[in-house]
Assembly symmetry: C2
Homo-oligomer: 409 residues x 2
């Protein structure tokens, strides 16, 4: 009971922001003595701290404001995608401690080599946490795959060409070799689902209860928040939207089928439309954002081929998104990955298709927005999922452990 | 606090079945004295009753079993569809008190005439409740439409050709004229969403947490249960799956677009494939189940045209359902409406398409099942939704009101 009330107060500080003990008591339904005792415990564990005095409407003694702390507790998110790896570390207050993306042609490498490079990048993030005196409580790996979460294996990753790869075991071994015993769990989940969680937690439309997140990479992934919760599905395989068939006679997809949505609007399809095969925008050894910036500059200079390609992709985006809007009736369709970076050139044709195809008058009040988090959404979501362990059970953080030494050293 | 604990105990009796007071206390976390007092109040209100003695593992005095009652409390569901009206009344124990379907060519009538016929049928259900000494706590109208639930209006019903029709007001007026002051609320919701709730509450796959329910009528409706909850959407417009475009050059749909899924697998499309225009299976004045039985007999007699039509519809069902299975990863796709009645002829070709199109190995552990509730699912769901008022706040039922007099008179 006390443990779950401790979690209740910590989550309330995260969701509702700094406030007085009296405010916490009134809003959670706990009595004031209990709240004081719980806050004392959170402060002791370094997960909350006293802030300034609360003078609002005070008649008696002014109470102090309590706010979320946890600068000594970290969560790490790592993403393996077709063209890059990303790692990002957050502390409990949401401050980014480490963020890095490296270009990697994952399709050209065997899984063992990819895991080597992933472990190298993850170790860098973890060493930075150590340097900052932040104790990681978990690491979540994001991957464009059907993930068997329980087993920690990739069941099937069409665009990586991986089947039944024991990724969590492989990564744990490699990280242990580099850093010794880890002392925290490694988990894995679908990249787009984690991206949706990252956007829902801290993106441009954070807190939107009904959200369809579309991420444009080589594949097209979808993560759906419905009624404030991630739509998981019976096996956690939901959101495989890239394989909606839009053209039975279309191009062969990584999944083996024809004319899937991602053959039309995925990164490879877009680049094929936009540039000749020998154009540097195709070079997987260059950073993806730089390659996309080249295209954006061409579009700004009104290069016909680039503009035509983006208009065609925008139309394709609208055709597929209309299916999802009819099915989910979201408040927002959020474009992530490369869609966000080239969004200004995609939105017009996309909206035209949505207006023509969505059944609800005025497309059911749905807006299309561009992600601010871009290619970091999935690793942010992963770091947030790792930190959920603390919000679910603050008592797992030992007294004196959570405050860190960054500000006090 | 007491009201919400009262609701907790009543829902526990519904979901977990008859059990001792000690069992209720252990399973809900309430203390035994509180449970005894809450049970006494539920018994007084006629919502629970004492059953037989519980002798299982008893050392001391055997406790009596408590079970859900509420035979004096009713919920009514009424469905308006393209070809028929349905009304169904349930008491709180889930016993069907009244069920009737009447053929009606709704497209050929103005909304006012349809509401007259609907009120007539609903009044019949309510009079039967009165005769059985059952007090209705609510009536829910199911309709194949985008429903503005707050306003009680149909925003848009493509297959009824209704736009902005104030249905709840119209029905309330007509019922009040017939029966006097009603004393309970009338609500309206989408037919497929209510069907999914009806199936989830009391159908062949009741309790399945991840369920896609497809109902075949003139339109094709979808209701999705995800993680045990109905997927609503930002405006309650989710599940408009009938308008997924499968053929850009296809037939004109009721929604004004071309090649929507329901033009291929909806009832009208299926009947067009299966029989000449003058065939009696097209006659909307005949009961729909009888018309479908004609087709089933022809299929059993291996009539080539009928079998070809059903195979083609089964293939179309699989093509569209694959999109939904990729997006939702449900445990079960449940076929309702006419799909259930002709299911044995649809399943083979449907499964072949699913296997070819779903990304997850072995289609993500998804089964396809046929509804037992058939055309009554939506009105059952509506009656259940009406009864939720009692499960949310049992204190709304006056003492002595809930037990009814059917068994004691």
């Amino acid at each position: 009971m006390r443990r779950s009330n401790l979690a209740l107060v910590l989550r309330h500080l995260r969701d509702a922001g700094p406030r007085s003990r009296a405010g916490i008591a009134a809003e959670t339904g706990l009595n004031k003595a209990t709240v004081s005792s719980l806050v004392a415990e959170l402060v002791e564990r370094g997960l909350a701290r006293e802030g300034e005095l609360d003078r609002a409407g005070s008649v008696g003694r002014p109470g102090t404001i309590v706010e979320l702390d946890g600068r000594g507790v970290g969560g790490v998110g790592v993403e393996v995608n077709v063209d890059y790896l990303t790692a990002l570390a957050l502390d409990l207050t949401g401050t980014v401690l480490f963020e890095q993306r490296v270009a990697l042609d994952v399709q050209a490498l065997p899984p063992a080599k990819v895991l080597d490079a992933t472990a190298e990048l993850a170790a860098r993030a973890l060493r930075e946490c150590r340097r900052l005196k932040v104790a990681p409580v978990g690491l979540t790996l994001a991957i464009p795959a059907l993930v068997d979460v329980e087993a920690g294996t990739v069941a099937f990753a069409p665009n990586l060409h991986w089947t039944d790869v024991p990724v969590v075991t492989g990564l744990t071994e490699r990280l242990t070799q580099r850093l010794g015993r880890l002392g925290f769990p490694i988990r894995m989940a679908n990249d787009a689902n984690l991206g949706a969680l990252g956007e829902h937690a801290m993106g441009s439309v954070a807190g939107t209860a009904d959200l369809v997140y579309l991420t444009g990479e080589i594949g097209v992934g979808g993560g759906v928040i419905s009624g404030g919760r991630l739509l998981g599905g019976a096996e956690g395989f939901s959101g495989e939207i890239g394989h909606i068939q839009l053209d039975p006679n279309g191009r062969r997809c990584g999944c083996g089928r024809r004319g899937c949505w991602e053959t039309i609007v995925g990164l490879a399809g877009m680049l094929r439309l936009a540039a000749e095969p020998n154009d540097p925008v195709h070079d997987p050894s260059l950073d993806l954002e730089q390659r996309l910036d080249m295209l954006r500059r061409r579009a700004e200079l009104k290069d016909r081929r680039t503009l035509d390609a983006l208009a065609q992709v925008g139309t394709g985006l609208g055709i597929g998104a209309a299916v999802l809007v009819n099915v989910f009736n979201p408040r927002v369709v959020l474009l992530g990955g490369y869609f966000a970076q080239l969004g200004p050139y995609l939105l017009g044709p996309m909206m035209a298709e949505l207006k023509a195809r969505v059944v609800a008058p005025d497309i059911g009040g749905c807006r299309v927005e561009l992600s601010w988090l871009g290619f970091s959404a999935a690793s942010r979501g992963g770091a947030n999922v790792a930190l959920d362990a603390v919000f679910d059970d603050p008592a797992r953080v030992a007294a004196g452990a959570g405050a860190g030494e960054r500000d006090s050293g």
